[in-house]
């Protein structure tokens, strides 16, 4: 019965081909450092899932942001767990993505033909940092507020266009309700959408070129 259903679906969707292409690829002899890319992907999915769940109760307005998070932490069943995973997962993701980048650098995996994978990966790292920066404001407590004041001020000292960058980041001259709502928008829509698209490109390139083998004495 199940075999029949599977065969019917497989004939049309091609599970077996997909499995061969996506997961059953030949791998060079590697070690645990080679798992960091998968770990980054897993953390991205985990952050996405917990983030979506947090939006059920979180309210991105200065009047309610702090209170709604207090409610998630103290009033909702397992709210502390969902937010805890998102909070610690964020730090872990920055760390893991960075170590992944170091691994690629030290094993020289960025060289021909994988330069594009490296470039896209660099963008992914910057986007991960942006996710951290925008997410940090959302609790809208003192630390979040002042971190954003300082962080956006750094953008403001760029010669020439600094004041413009500052206003674009803040949605005005001050950190305000507009800052919170645009950081929220960036944090849950723009940055994750870009991240997901670039992760797709990154994975496609990895599948196309295969994983790099560690250089040996002859290289």
């Amino acid at each position: 019965m199940w075999k029949k259903i599977y065969a019917w679906l497989d004939e049309r969707l091609g599970f077996d081909d997909m499995y061969k292409m996506l997961l059953d690829r030949p791998e060079p002899h590697g070690n645990w450092w080679n798992t960091l890319g998968s770990a980054s992907l897993f953390l991205f999915l985990l952050q996405g899932t917990t983030g979506i769940f947090l939006t059920v109760y979180y309210t991105p307005s200065p009047d309610h942001a702090y209170d709604s998070i207090q409610y998630i932490m103290n009033g909702v069943a397992y709210g502390w767990l969902v937010r805890g995973i998102h909070h610690w997962g964020a730090s872990l993701m920055v760390l893991i993505v960075f170590i992944h980048m170091l691994r690629v650098f030290f094993s020289a995996s960025y060289k021909y033909p994988r330069e594009l994978t490296w470039m896209v990966g660099s963008l992914l790292f910057l986007l991960t940092l942006s996710m951290g920066f925008t997410g940090y404001l959302l609790p809208f407590n003192q630390r979040a507020y002042w971190a954003t004041v300082v962080g956006t001020n750094i953008g403001g000292v760029v010669p020439g266009v600094g004041p413009m960058i500052l206003k674009v980041l803040r949605g005005g001259t001050d950190v305000s309700a507009l800052t919170l709502s645009r950081f929220f928008s960036a944090h849950i829509w723009m940055l994750p959408a870009t991240l997901a698209a670039l992760i797709g490109v990154h994975l496609y390139l990895i599948m196309r070129h295969g994983e790099s083998a560690y250089p040996d004495a002859d290289d």
């Binding site: 309610h64 409610y71 009033g75 069943a77 397992y78 969902v82």
Partner: protein, 165 residues
């Protein structure tokens, strides 16, 4: 397979499936609870409201009382005011009426000369015990349950306020 030994490939498959299932369940249960949490909360708004010593209410004429109830929904707290009248018919018998007109929820006032509760909105008239004398209200004024303890009067604030119809 002739050999009883599990192949490396199968071991990895089984381990991945097992760990994946454990993680799915370990995360799935809390996450579903998180989503359906508001439905799991039971909130009983029912409470006995103290109105002070019974002796402070005169026998024969209605005396107004008022109280507030706060309601917390998520992180939002709303405070509603309620009021009514105590009419002591004798030493032992009394009735507690809500002052919400049963027509459109305006507050009725006691009018001593007319010996009636009169609603300012649409000129509804209620008798001293809440019965409709004149005007548009469909039903008599709502009553609160009452009790007396150690000389103090209490009324029962209902679980589902009839006023919020």
């Amino acid at each position: 397979m002739a050999s009883n030994r599990i192949s490396r490939r199968d071991f990895v498959k089984v381990t991945t499936a097992a760990l994946g299932s454990i993680m799915t369940v370990a995360l799935g249960i809390p996450f579903i609870s998180y989503l359906i949490d508001p439905a799991l909360k039971t909130e009983s708004g029912e409470a006995w409201i103290p109105l002070g010593p019974l002796d402070s209410f005169p026998i024969g004429t209605p005396k107004a009382f008022s109280f507030t109830r706060s309601h917390i929904n998520g992180w939002e707290k709303t405070v509603n005011s309620y009021g009514g009248f105590i009419l002591r018919k004798s030493e032992t018998k009394l009735i507690a009426l809500s002052n919400r007109c049963t027509h459109l929820s305006c507050s009725v006032n006691w009018n001593e000369e007319a010996n009636e509760y009169i609603c300012p909105c649409h000129d509804a008239h209620f008798g001293p015990e809440g019965e409709v004398h004149d005007g548009p209200p469909p039903t008599p004024l709502d009553r609160f349950e009452t009790k007396e303890e150690d000389g103090n009067l209490y009324i029962l604030f209902p679980a589902v306020p009839a006023q919020e119809g």
